[in-house]
Amino acid sequence: MASHHVPGDLADDAPRHFISSPGAAAPGGTVSGDVPVEHPIEFTGSGSEYFRIWIVNLLLSVLTLGIYSAWAKVRSQRYLHANTRLDGASFGYHARPAAILKGRIVAVLLLIAYVVLTQEMQLTGLLIVLVAAVVLLPWLLYRSLRFRLANTSYRALRFGFQAPLRKSYVVFALWPVLTLFTLYLLTPFTHRAIKAFQHNHSRYGSARFSFDARTRDFYLRYGAWLAGVVLAGGLPVLAAWLFLRDAGAGGMDGAEFFSVAWIWIYAVLLATTPMLAASLRNLIWSRTRLGPNRIVSRVSPWKYFYIQATNGLLTLLTLGLFVPFARIRRLRYLAACTAFVAAGDIGAFVAAAQDGPVGAAGDETADIFGIDIAL
């Protein structure tokens, strides 16, 4: 395990006040004589053991028509959290199955309402759904963030999320709608805004996280990815077009070639998404701090792409039975690329004042509509 630097001139049990008053920005810098120590994140989960948990979860969920799925989620998350270790301690997951079940029931009701509205009332229904999305989604995502963080702990200190609700509307309604109207040109800007909202209002114990990536960084990474897609996608298309034209090949008219070309470019776009995700993950985590403590993320876009691609292939070949192994494999790699650089003693963090239990409705609804703000 990574070693612990303890300066000899300070007593072991005197808390070092790097992260002291709740809500206040942490003082910059470290106590003189302290060298920042990099603690790698360790993932000890086993694919075969997780498979067993997963398949039993799946079977019981099917037999109980989905009701057991809340307990399944808790079991699964507790296993994954307990097997994620940092400096000799593991993470904890504290959500209660009942809360998750309630959340899932709300989510199913919303889904039924959505289906009924769009099928039965068509245009009016669609308008209602859009308005409801703009009104409800930011609230649901806000609650999802609170629920997820409040139910995660490390060394018995809970994480937390505290932000004014109106900011959630700016970040999850205003910017996304504008992004839509600018034909997605605002995507990197909105992505940064979302991450800034998330990280600037998250805390561990009484210590606040902070986020200082610039919009420019996001545009650069998205731009590099698009350039890659144009090269990897467009160049072969161009070459094929020139070849076919010169070789005088018949049997493939312009429209057909066009649609094949678009399919190829779309495939390249999809295939390279893991690489963009890896690049953004590195950016996001390396620009997130917890007071004077930093986080390091060294995900290799190529390796991550390889892992995701082989995961997908194996999942296909095994008709889905590889899913739990795929998950463990992915988490193990991401953990191996991540480290927490502690400026001082990790034991010095202090708990925050208690806030009440947060309901799960946000978390589960966010899942069912495919909204995932992980990574």
Partner: protein, 348 residues
């Protein structure tokens, strides 16, 4: 005595402690910590081979034991019995049985359960919904380029009359709607409301042999009689949702492809049912099922030589298919092997 790390929930400091599990509970001692708690007052994490054993106290404190096996053994002495789910999860035999059960249940659900449910449910869909679904399917088809028919009105009326004349009592009501096919080419589509859309190109393929067209109408009527449109919507929606839930984490493309493939298989079954209906219908009126086979062969030939036409009523995008797209079932839906269909029809 088992070593562990104690966290008091007030700071992140790790206290090196020793745990002594006993008949009444567990005692924790060391590094400024001395507490005992009854087994009922703490929550111990479930047995697993990997990861620490975690004891959570009521006041938020936490104890992590790296040698989980040792603690589990000690605890089993004083607190035998554990959740049956955990026993299932930790046993390879049980897990293998679970895999077999899951595969069996999924297969049973896919081949028997869902089709049966969809069939029963399709009988109870309100007529207003059926009309609405069909109208929107027709609208989206028209967006794809269906223009008013170029056939002379008398020809259209004659066809409709000939078709109605063949109808036995009690057959589901059907209405012929002739259209210029546009990008759809030669095709016929049945909508749940009973509308049968027929393209001018298909009529042209029959080359004056109206008996061939009547065979096609019989096949389409089969789709209406068996409520295939509604059943297809129900079945593909359920399959799509479940595929998304099962595979969505790994890849949404995979989920979409799986959903499309599974729905395809259902569609093949519907085609077969409609072929059988047409064969029975034709024989009952003293005609040969081979009429439909001949028409299918002509359609296949016309597509092979590059005549424009699509074989799906809606764009073949497994992810984006909506209800209206699935409700319209065409003659050539989902590429079932035409040769096999032709052979089956000729054998009847």
């Amino acid at each position: 005595m088992i070593p562990g790390g104690y966290f008091d929930g007030r700071t992140a400091r790790r206290h090196a402690v020793m745990l002594a599990p006993g008949p009444d509970g567990v005692a924790v001692e060391g590094d400024g910590v001395a507490r005992r708690a009854a087994w009922d007052e703490v929550s111990v994490s479930e047995r697993s081979r990997h990861g620490p054993r975690v004891i959570e106290f009521g006041d938020g404190a936490r104890c992590e034991i790296d040698d989980a096996a040792a603690f589990d053994a000690a605890r089993r002495r004083y607190r035998p019995g554990e959740s049956p789910v955990v026993r299932l999860q930790q046993s390879w035999a049980a897990t293998a049985a679970a895999v077999a059960a899951f595969v069996a249940l999924s297969a049973a659900g896919y081949f028997l359960g869902l089709p049966w449910l969809a069939d029963r449910a399709s009988r109870h869909v309100p007529p207003a919904v059926v009309e609405d679904l069909s109208r929107r399917a027709l609208e989206s088809l028209e967006h794809m380029g269906l223009e008013p028919s170029t056939l002379p009105p008398e020809r259209q009326a004659a066809l409709a009359r000939a078709w109605q004349a063949m109808q036995p009592a009690g057959a589901p009501a059907t209405r012929l709607r002739l259209r210029a096919g546009g990008s759809l080419g030669a095709n016929a589509l049945a909508l749940p409301s009973g509308d049968i859309v027929v393209t001018d190109e298909l009529v042209a393929l029959a080359d004056g042999e109206d008996e061939l067209l009547l065979a096609v109408f019989a096949h389409e009527q089969g789709h209406v009689a068996h409520r295939h449109g509604i059943r297809n919507v129900l079945q593909s929606t359920v399959v799509g949702t479940l595929a998304g839930w099962y595979l969505g984490d790994v890849s949404s493309v995979l989920a979409g492809a799986a959903a499309a493939g599974l729905s395809l298989r259902y569609s093949r079954g519907f085609e077969q049912e409609a072929d059988d209906y047409a064969a029975a219908f034709l024989r009952a009126r003293g005609r040969s099922p081979a009429l439909l086979a001949t028409m299918l062969e002509r359609l296949e030939a016309s597509r092979a030589d590059g005549t424009k036409g699509t074989t799906e009523a809606e764009g073949a995008d497994g992810n984006g298919k909506n209800g209206s797209g699935d409700a319209a079932i065409d003659l050539f839906d989902s590429h079932p092997a035409t040769a096999r269909r032709v052979q089956r029809l000729r054998e009847q």
